[in-house]
Symmetry: C2
């Protein structure tokens, strides 16, 4: 279904989209072919394929020059380190992982980022709880938000971590600490609550939400019950369409980077 949406969205705004179906044992070769195919500007794989760490191996086979999802190790490492360009001359931009980026763009759009503050610090003063610390979305998202100045409580089943740039944003990039705090306390301080728990049974406890908070869910399951609307000032139940836009945004970056490499 995500493939259909991606195809429709892409073509509706003028990108050529092609879905290639291959047997899982031939996928690696197919990726390498696409890496080498001059007609292909961007590649995404629909996971799960093997449903284990072999999937992460396959993701890294995608050339970074065609990685619209921003999951190449180099891009992820740049993101954690707040490094925005691939070259010293700053002609080629690093690509950001598209799901966390979609959350950031939504928070910008709905006014959580304060545009009066300097670029890069626009979440200063904001406290955000992110429920999910996966390597694909939760941890990168917490890092991005903290890099932009927020205090972020990153929640997963093993406990809660605090991501910050320190008092007065004295650090260049975020720092992480394990902290001993309950979800209730983290949530009650939070201006924004972001959830991403891939389970139909999980529901965020509405009574923990501060009145007027912004609630965003990036899971394909509904992590907030309907009563969230009685507490939240703004509620974003899903982010799939924005994620697809971010894929296309990343594709444009890759095309620009390619052009700039040739110059």
């Amino acid at each position: 279904m995500y493939a259909q949406w991606t195809g429709k969205t892409s073509e509706s705004i003028g990108f050529a989209y092609e879905l290639r179906r291959v047997d899982k044992d031939e996928l690696e070769e197919a990726i390498i072919e696409a890496n080498d195919d001059d007609n292909v500007d961007g590649i995404m794989i629909y996971f799960p394929v093997f449903g284990n760490r072999q999937d992460q191996y396959l993701q890294q086979v995608v050339s970074k020059d065609k990685d619209v999802e921003g999951l190449s190790h180099l891009y992820v490492q740049n993101m954690y380190h707040n490094v925005r360009y691939l070259d010293k001359e700053q002609t080629q931009k690093s690509v950001l992982p598209c799901t966390p980026l979609a959350v950031v763009k939504i928070l910008e759009h709905i006014g959580v980022y304060n545009t009066v503050l300097p670029y890069g610090n626009r979440l200063y003063g904001k406290t955000i709880t992110v429920v999910n610390r996966s390597e694909i979305v939760g941890r990168p998202l917490a890092a991005l938000l903290a890099n932009d100045g927020a205090v972020v409580y990153s929640v997963d089943i093993t406990g809660i971590q605090k991501f910050t740039r320190g008092d007065g944003l004295k650090l260049k990039r975020h720092h992480v600490q394990d902290i001993d705090i309950e979800l209730k306390e983290a949530a009650s301080q939070s201006d924004v609550i972001v959830t991403g728990v891939p389970s139909p049974d999980y529901k965020f406890p509405v009574e923990y939400i501060k009145y007027g908070a912004v609630c965003v869910n990036f899971s394909s399951e509904k992590n907030f019950p309907p009563e969230v609307k009685e507490r939240a000032s703004l509620y974003v139940p899903s982010i799939g369409k924005v994620t697809i836009s971010m894929l296309l945004r990343n594709l444009l970056r890759l095309i620009n980077n390619k052009a700039n490499r040739k110059n």
Copy 2:
């Protein structure tokens, strides 16, 4: 304990070994420091650190030029594709992941590789069962053995796959197929059985082993019961010491590669 052994072995044969202990939240910075430290030739991380995919992220932060474990994506991809050098001029060798490499070297040493056959095909005619298909050891090992000419049955809880270069070794590198076969049948055809199940409860069924087969266990648990000796012609209960030798072998490669880059 593995750290102690590595230290002792390294120093006993003239390598300087230094154990750096850092808080898990400072490990990434410590790796980057070691990457940039001219006095450091090789780096290994003792996992688990976070015990989840963040550990794989950290592994990729290690510079490929100092990756004694051979776990950088580039090395792993080269291994699967039977690519042995990093450069066209063939002055810099690709590094192989050290645990699967240790198994290969043991099989060479105990005569499973037939040195009369051409290099690269020395397992032709051999059938090998590998129980474990992890991305760290089992799958790379099955690939290495198949690349060298064996028919390999790769077993894990989701089923059995066959890794081969095809009849008459017509393929340049191994191909993988899902097959419908029971462990009993695979084992009874196998000249070599390699196990790596990290569980104290797992025991390979001795009655499946062909009389005279070679049995090798790379798990830290004893995957074969004592009766294995009544069936096997050779039994290798653990490979830890050889794995450490492979770390040092890889370190030498990295040092040579560095020297060759300078020339």
